[in-house]
Structure formats: C-alpha cells, structure tokens
Point group: C2
Amino acid sequence: MTKNKRAVVFVRLKDGVLDPQGVTIGKALQQMGYDDFVSVRTGKFFELEINDSNGDIEKKIDEVCSKLLANPVIERYTVEKD
Amino acid sequence: MTKNKRAVVFVRLKDGVLDPQGVTIGKALQQMGYDDFVSVRTGKFFELEINDSNGDIEKKIDEVCSKLLANPVIERYTVEKD
C-alpha cells in the first residue's frame, strides 16, 4: 500500500494586481493603532492529501492548480511537497 | 533608517472544524477525474510588511493575529518571519 503524500499549493495575486482585502486589513491595522504594519497582501493555500498510486503527480498537481485552484490571469501559485 | 521586515501569518481551521470549501474542491477534483487527491483543506495567509522601529514586533504580530487576522475559536495561526 502506498502511503499518502502531502502537498501544499500557495496562491497569491500577481504583483501589480490590486488586493482590496489586503488594503482593508492594512487600514484596519492603522486604525487600531498598529502603525508598524506598512502593507498587507493576502493569499490562500490548499493542503492536498494525495494517494500517488500511478505516479506523475507533479504534472497532475500542476494541472489542478491552473484549472481549479488558481486563476492564472491574475494569480500565481507555488507548490511545496513534503 | 530601519529596513522593512516581512512576516507571513498562516491561518488554518482547527482540526475537526468542517471545511466546506475544501470538501467542495475535493469533490470537484473527483468529478474532473483527479481521483489521486484524497482530501483538501483550505487556509489563508497574510504577508505583512513591517517597519519595526519600536521593537517588540513579535508581541504585536501575535495581538494582530488573535484580534483581526484569525478567529481563535475555530482557527489557529502560525507566523513565519524572514
């Protein structure tokens, strides 16, 4: 039996794409008195548990990222594997 | 002049808390034929740019996490600093 593997996909907005959520959090921090925080950018990540029985999992993760997990027009992604 | 520092806060749902977004993505992957993916858990992260002029930044990051960035009832967070 193959042990399940784990991969984490990090999705961020591309540089130059406006991040309204980050801007709002930044403003909230200022209003709360935390003026050491210069800027905030937000992102999301997905922890995937993988049963790699057929191999070729790198290619599949890449496909899944560009088809479902990230929007390649405005987002970029990185993959970290255990 | 102090150089700006960078910290990343990762926020995940606590173990045992249902992650409907992750479940939905998992089902979508199955329907798309990617049946190697056993489970998906989602999370978010915040890249903070910090002008640490007064020091004591660890404490401030911790405060900001529990007050604004994470909901301590259902979420846990980790901080990574450069």
